[in-house]
Amino acid sequence: MYKVTHQDIIRFLRQLDVEERNTPALASRLLPVYHAGDEAGWQMDEMALLALTSHMVALVQRLDSREVIEPIEEEHLAQIAPWAQDMAQQMLTPLFSAAGLPVDRSEVGLVALHLAAAAERINAESTAVGY
């Protein structure tokens, strides 16, 4: 399993061309989110974490600007693996609480899709090389 550090997140943020002066504080906000995922047993690798970090940068911007994302229809939410939704809920709840906002189910769904897609890809790659 990938235990993400503060430095890892800064590295991802630099790859995403986030302004350098913002990276330490942003990494500090994201670290508990990633630790929650790790403790919940997520399956992530470098590529998945970079993609998730890209998503999280936009999510944090939405929280700070109080922008509400277009709601995801129930029929789509129902297709997302329950384990991934539960994990995403655990990961995001502290972030939303710190912002003084209720957890947005659609935001949970979008992060859950990252988790589910990463797990599916990593499992498929493991199977392909005969592990």
Binding site: S54, H114, A116
Partner: protein, 124 residues
């Protein structure tokens, strides 16, 4: 015969059909990746299809665009919030564009038309 412009669409929720229609109306060829989290497969399908352009749609489109750029070296821009922003990114040389949830025919047709213009100018 002029080679048709090929665009791959990867939408987090498996949508993108309106953009696809716009692409086809403008004379382009489109591949819409089916299923949820399709944006995460954008780079793979672009590579497989030898596509000219990839469009990623999610909260910011960044994840799909970044993955495509990291894995295959496509020049990408994300966090694009309007059609005009996408056109500007295309003019700057980006070939993978990451948007929010912007499923419109206008996006599809303008992207194809702009790319065709860039080709005629020798810039694509």
């Amino acid at each position: 015969m002029e080679k048709q412009i090929k665009v791959v669409i990867g939408h987090r929720l498996g949508k993108g059909q309106k953009v696809a229609k716009g692409i086809e109306d403008a004379g382009g060829v489109v591949v819409v990746i089916p299923g949820m989290a399709a944006d995460m497969k954008l780079g793979d399908v672009m590579h497989q299809e030898q596509a000219d352009i990839g469009l990623s749609f999610c909260g910011s489109g960044g994840a799909g665009a970044v993955t495509a750029g990291t894995k295959y070296g496509y020049k990408q821009e994300s966090h694009l919030r309007s059609v005009d922003a996408g056109i500007a990114a295309l003019r700057r040389g980006a070939r993978v564009l990451g948007f929010g949830f912007l499923d419109t025919e206008e996006l599809g047709s303008r992207i194809v038309n702009e790319f065709r213009k860039l080709q005629s100018e020798g810039k694509a």
